[in-house]
Amino acid sequence: MATAKDPNPRPVRTSSSFSRNPSSPSAAPASPPVPGVKPGPSGAAFVSSGIPDLDKILGGGFLLGSVVMVMEDADAPHHLLLLRNFMSQGIVHRQPLLFASPAEDPRAFLGTLPSPVSSSKEERQRAPGLDPDAKDKEKGLRIAWQYKKYFGERQVPELHNRGIEQDFSNDFDLRKPLERQMFRTQQIDCVSIQDTANLAVLHEHCSTFLSDLTRNEGCNVNAGRIAIQSLCAPQCGYSELDWDMVSFIRSLRAMIRCSNAVAVITFPTSVLSPSFSKRWQHLADTLLSVRAMPDEDKELAKLLTGYQDMVGLLHVHKVSQINTQVPVILEATTFSLKLQKRRSLILERLNQAPVDASSGTSYATSGSCSGSSKGSPLDF
């Protein structure tokens, strides 16, 4: 088994998978690294989702050749945050982009794309253990067992990797829009799916987009991104043709599988019938869902730390597993969406606030109704 040195050690995927050994003479000459694409084990390639936390959670990013579906919550527009970061990342890496939305003028949405955070000083402060102040404080803490010496070795390569990580994924400042000049040299195709009676137009756009991608043969085959917002929104003309929509997703998935692209599709599950909603979820390779949080809920504020900063919740249902038999096992599946300093999106595991035992109600006996009274079929 030839295991090459993996330049970006990621603790999630094991190192016992096959990867190309560059020193062997039979290997093909290595293609120059494409910006924005990170190689992974088993010949997989990742593109960043635009949110570094999400890349870490999913074990590297969005897999090229997979379809990512995001289940929207009818009450909150958080899926737009995910879409914006995804599209901005593609533009920053100069990857061709296809965007479809049920608005009259999808180009207007491009004006809301965030621009990347320029300095990395704040990023280093967020990473644990790299801040020199924190290191001094920790010397004052005496721990019986000397585990720090094992950690020290891991931290040094992280500093080098910071530079590489910066190239792969960027933090985006949601308050600053992306500069106009970035758009000029870009291949961005926008489609409005509002008044179309069927999905043939969108299908056409997708297939030409994907065939254009592969047509640029040569050393650099760029990765493409497809972003479809609210595919089954009720104002789209085809939204009652359930089977047509399922066929469209299936054929899109087939086209993407054999191409170098990633598709992110968001859809509101409440608008679909439950059986079709399940079908859509099964068609996804990576399935995420965003959920709204109740506002000024005192119970929730007591139970969660950092409730005030939370914008919403993100739940990871499924992580793509193409070409590998090693699944990504997540430690936690529910994350809170927070806006750090009101500008960049971070995902955090939910932290439970210390509970007052004298209040008498243990967690198992507290009210068991779901957060929204509509009783969505996706009570996870």
Binding site: A292, T334, V355, Y363, S370
Partner: protein
């Protein structure tokens, strides 16, 4: 809570954002939706005629009730006629929605219209584009300074869904919302007249959802007297749930009770509020490691079963099967008075009891023997 809705309808939309949209939802079991709609309509019209709202006028698309009903409604509520005329237009889809009267050969029998000019009869409900352009035309008729915005109220979207498909209705409402001349828009639906999918689609488009639920749920196998009481209750009162989608992405859930009194609606704060916690989200671990003061006091009061209490008394071997009693030479004899005394003392510390059973009588008191030393491995 109804106040919150009235306020947001009055304030309208911000620049560059879509207009707020309200869905009022009721069902057969709590049929007070039309009254709630009338309440919001009249409040908004009074705001508009007093000039307090962002909208300069209101266009009402009347499917369910005739325009004269609405004019009478405003008279009943005490709104002045002339400002109302200036700022209120009705698109009458009630009298002749499908244009049948035009097709009658005997046109002399057609009723003379006794309506004022504020009502425009619309005859082609099936054409959604024409409907939307008529609404916009009527709205353009309002005059005011600066950018003129107007509000739209649709009497019964359920009636609209009878004639056209859901995507068309959803498209119309969405277009109205994104039109920058519209300040706010609200409509009423009867949720049991169409599939849940339609209600879900309309809720998806709107920013505020007000749903009416019956005060008393009907039980199966109801007796006649029970159902009459239930009918009477539900025709006068209802639970008013509001779900607001806020701009920061959070959802605000409000709850009120609604009482009908002589055709006037009164909103009251809820008598009991259910707390809702999403239990499935959070991990189950639950440990509170801090002690409160009371708990600390209790802890210090617990008598630990050391044979050496450290207060100079003689060492007592605690048998474990009898209670400890002082000055007792024969541990097998129990004296009821001492026993009860000890129990009283112990009952003062409610939670601090430790029961210690000695392993064997051979053990010397307070020995530090490690029981594992006996193991012969």
């Amino acid at each position: 809570m109804a106040e919150t809705i009235c306020r947001s309808l009055r304030d309208g939309s911000l620049e560059g954002e879509q207009a707020p949209a309200l869905t009022i939802k009721d069902s057969l079991q709590s049929p007070l939706g039309s009254h709630v709609f009338d309440h919001f309509l009249s409040t908004l019209v009074s705001h508009i005629s007093a000039g307090r709202s962002q909208a300069s006028g209101l266009v009402l698309v009347a499917f369910n009730r005739s325009p004269s009903f609405y004019l009478d409604l405003f008279k009943r509520k005490g709104l002045d006629a002339s400002p109302v005329d200036k700022s209120f237009r009705i698109l009458d889809c009630f009298s002749d929605p499908l244009g049948w009267k035009d097709r009658l050969v005997d046109s002399a029998s057609a009723e003379k219209s006794i309506l004022k000019d504020s009502a425009t009869v619309f005859k082609n409900v099936r054409d959604v584009n024409k409907l939307s352009s008529s609404i916009l035309d009527l709205g353009n008729g309002f005059i005011g300074e600066g950018k003129v915005r107007f509000a739209v109220a649709i009497d019964l979207v359920s009636n609209m869904l009878r004639h056209v498909s859901l995507p068309s209705v959803a498209g119309l409402l969405n277009n109205l919302r994104s039109n920058d001349r519209i300040s706010c828009i609200f409509w009423l639906i009867h949720s049991d007249l169409h599939e849940p999918r339609a209600s879900a689609a309309l809720e998806y488009i709107s920013t505020m959802v007000a749903s009416l639920e019956p005060m008393m749920q009907s039980s199966d196998g109801q007796k006649t007297s029970g159902s009459l009481l239930w009918l009477e209750e539900n025709s006068r009162k209802a639970k008013f749930h509001v779900r607001l989608k806020r701009r920061n992405g959070r959802v605000k859930l409000l709850y009120e009770e609604l009482h009908m009194e002589q055709a006037e609606i009164r909103f009251e704060a809820a008598s009991s509020v259910k707390t809702i916690v999403d239990q499935n989200l959070l991990p189950r671990v639950q440990f509170n490691l801090q002690l409160s003061d009371k708990e600390r006091a209790d802890r210090s009061n617990v008598v630990l079963p050391f044979e050496h209490q450290g207060n100079g008394e003689a060492i007592q071997i605690y048998d474990g099967r009898r209670s400890l009693s002082e000055g007792q030479k024969d541990p097998h004899l129990m004296q009821p008075s001492a026993f009860s005394h000890k129990m009283d003392a112990q009952s003062n510390n409610d939670k601090g009891e430790i029961h210690y059973i000695r392993d064997s009588d051979d053990e010397r008191p307070d020995s530090d023997e490690d029981p594992d030393d006996d193991l012969d491995i």
